[in-house]
């Protein structure tokens, strides 16, 4: 058996993603909407299929062979994810339906028991709505206050302002690791250190990070870390919440049901241990297996390969798009992931998106679920090209070509 690691490289991985061979409107697909959802490799599809065709059953319940196999596969998936983010213990990895669900878990369980009237929660201007809305809801309920770290013109967090926002009333800092709109990679380790210096826990929204850079939750030191399967080559409907055991053990369950209990009577419930306490009901077993397989895929490919390829794509796209007359890039932080948001003089992003689609180029246009950030830059929308390791320079050329065509239409 040949060594898989030697075989899987950034140059070769494209073959693992069959969807990239399809055509759209008669043109070869150029998929540059990876920040919205990344594509799935054959290996993940195979694991998904394998579960359904060979050992589909419920987990943690049956004494029969299929149930045991399903349980083992799901727990192997959890272990793969533990390794991916280097959690100290697989019990600290809770399956959720995605990043949004993970943040809501922390809000409902930790937030509703820990946050009191007048307390403060620190977010930033560049948060995705999924890291704003739950906290706004909690603040409305608890009469607590949201504090917002401002963003510079380049799209970096103003850390001096952050320092001054930290107060004796700060109960939580919840911050995005990589901005889905700007591509900014935030210094979450430093942000965590600054919060911990005042005894404040930190949640990191890692939805845009895990498929692009190595994440080590122990090194970051964060208390919670959230991620989504479908943004890291895995399936939709599955995600994870990492939480330090010391927090998770103290936190009450937020959903009741089967699998999260040890014993039930009408008078008293004894809750299950971690991580099951937070996984009520039959989980998305196939999703958990698929997300675990996606983690293995990422580790086999290796972040060195991924980052080399994505850095090249980011630099090339930035250079090529900057060269187009009338294009302005939004988000020029020093540390960036392979995301390029831009606006074009006199052309609305939705018109650009439609015309690019006719050319087979899939990008995202709109506010990217970051309306406060859009407002910060005086925009209602941008066009966003977001790359993954399987993208190629030739695809950037096709994007730029299609963009020039769009500009021609409007000039």
């Amino acid at each position: 058996m040949p060594d898989v690691k030697q075989q899987l490289t950034a140059a070769r991985c494209r073959d693992d993603f069959p969807i990239l061979n399809r055509h759209v409107h008669g043109k070869p697909l150029v998929y540059l909407d990876n920040a919205a959802s990344s594509q799935m490799p054959l290996q993940v599809m195979e694991a998904y299929r394998d579960y359904h065709s060979r050992y589909h059953a419920n987990v943690h319940r049956g004494v029969h062979q299929l149930s045991q196999q399903a349980t083992d596969a799901m727990e192997a998936g959890r272990e793969s994810l533990r390794r991916l983010i280097n959690a100290a213990d697989a019990k600290e990895v809770i399956f959720t339906s995605g990043t949004t669900d993970a943040i809501n878990l922390v809000m409902q369980s930790w937030g509703r028991t820990q946050v009191a009237p007048g307390d403060e929660i620190i977010l930033s201007t560049m948060e995705h709505h999924s890291n704003i809305v739950p906290w706004r809801m909690l603040c409305d309920e608890k009469k607590a206050v949201l504090k917002v770290i401002p963003v510079t013109d380049d799209g970096e967090l103003d850390l001096e302002a952050y320092e001054s926002l930290l107060s004796p009333r700060t109960r939580l800092v919840s911050i995005v690791h990589v901005s889905n709109t700007l591509g900014t990679v935030n210094p979450v380790k430093q942000i965590t250190r600054m919060a911990h210096a005042r005894g404040v826990p930190v949640l990191v929204d890692g939805a845009q990070a895990v498929s692009h850079m190595p994440v080590d939750v122990q090194d970051l030191g964060c208390d919670f870390y959230a991620a989504s399967g479908h943004k890291m080559f895995g399936p939709t409907g599955i995600g994870l919440l990492y939480g330090k055991k010391e927090h998770l053990e103290k936190m009450p369950p937020w959903r009741g049901g089967g699998d999260m209990i040890l014993s039930v009577s009408f008078d008293e419930i004894l809750y299950n241990e971690l991580p099951y306490k937070f996984e009520a009901g039959t989980p998305h077993i196939a999703g958990a297996i698929g997300m675990g397989k996606a983690a293995e895929y990422l580790m086999t490919l290796g972040y060195e390969e991924i980052q080399k390829q994505e850095k090249d794509l980011l630099d090339y796209a930035t250079q090529q798009l900057t060269a187009v007359d009338g294009v302005r890039i939004i988000g020029t932080a020093r540390e960036k992931s392979a995301v390029v948001s831009f606006v074009v003089d006199g052309i609305h992003p939705h018109d650009i998106g439609t015309i690019l689609d006719f050319e087979g180029v899939a990008v995202r246009t709109g506010h990217h679920c970051t309306q406060p950030l859009m407002e910060r830059y005086g925009l209602t929308a941008t066009t966003r090209a977001s790359m993954a390791v399987y993208n190629r320079r030739e695809e950037i050329d096709l994007l730029v070509h299609a963009l020039r065509e769009a500009i021609k239409v409007f000039r």
Binding site: H348, H350, D351, T354, F358, G366, A381, K408, F410
Partner: protein, 152 residues
């Protein structure tokens, strides 16, 4: 070379109305006024109109910003509706709506649509139908005395 589907909606007349929108001003005083918002795109428009005793739209204008399809649609709508009766205008609203949703083919069943049939192409672009219909919905809401409309 521009794709044929592109040219289906981004016709010269649409591009022209986007670049030089007609009746693009606030009407003050206005008997009827409403705000229209498409939360998905962020398109925002106001439509203002005055109607005389015999039910004729004596003036109709719009303000706001959005994509080319929404702005051109608002511009062409105001050009078409000025001088029409409210009843005629409401009929056109329904015909336009049917066309945008692909329920009326303006080639075989043009009704009163006239030049507005350039927007027939949006029926192939489900995500953009609301861009074309936003100003019409806003006009309709203004007449009915509803101050705000969103396309969600």
């Amino acid at each position: 070379m521009m794709d044929s589907k592109t040219s289906e909606i981004y016709k010269q007349v649409v591009l022209d109305h986007n670049k030089t929108p007609r009746n693009y001003r606030i009407l003050d005083p206005a008997m009827y006024e409403a705000a229209g918002h498409n939360p998905l795109c962020g398109d925002r428009y106001h439509v203002y109109l005055n109607v005389d005793d015999s039910g004729i739209i004596t003036d109709i204008t719009f303000s706001g910003d959005g994509c080319a399809i929404s702005k051109a649609s608002a511009s062409m709508m105001t050009s078409m509706l000025k001088g029409k009766t409210v009843t005629e205008a409401e009929k056109m609203f329904h015909q336009f709506h049917e066309m945008a949703q692909g329920k009326r083919d303006p080639e075989t069943d043009p009704g009163d649509l006239g030049r507005l049939k350039v927007f027939a192409g949006v029926r192939n672009l489900p995500a953009r139908v609301k861009c074309a219909t936003l100003s019409w919905h806003t006009f309709h809401a203004a007449l009915k005395g509803e101050k705000k409309v969103t396309t969600e």
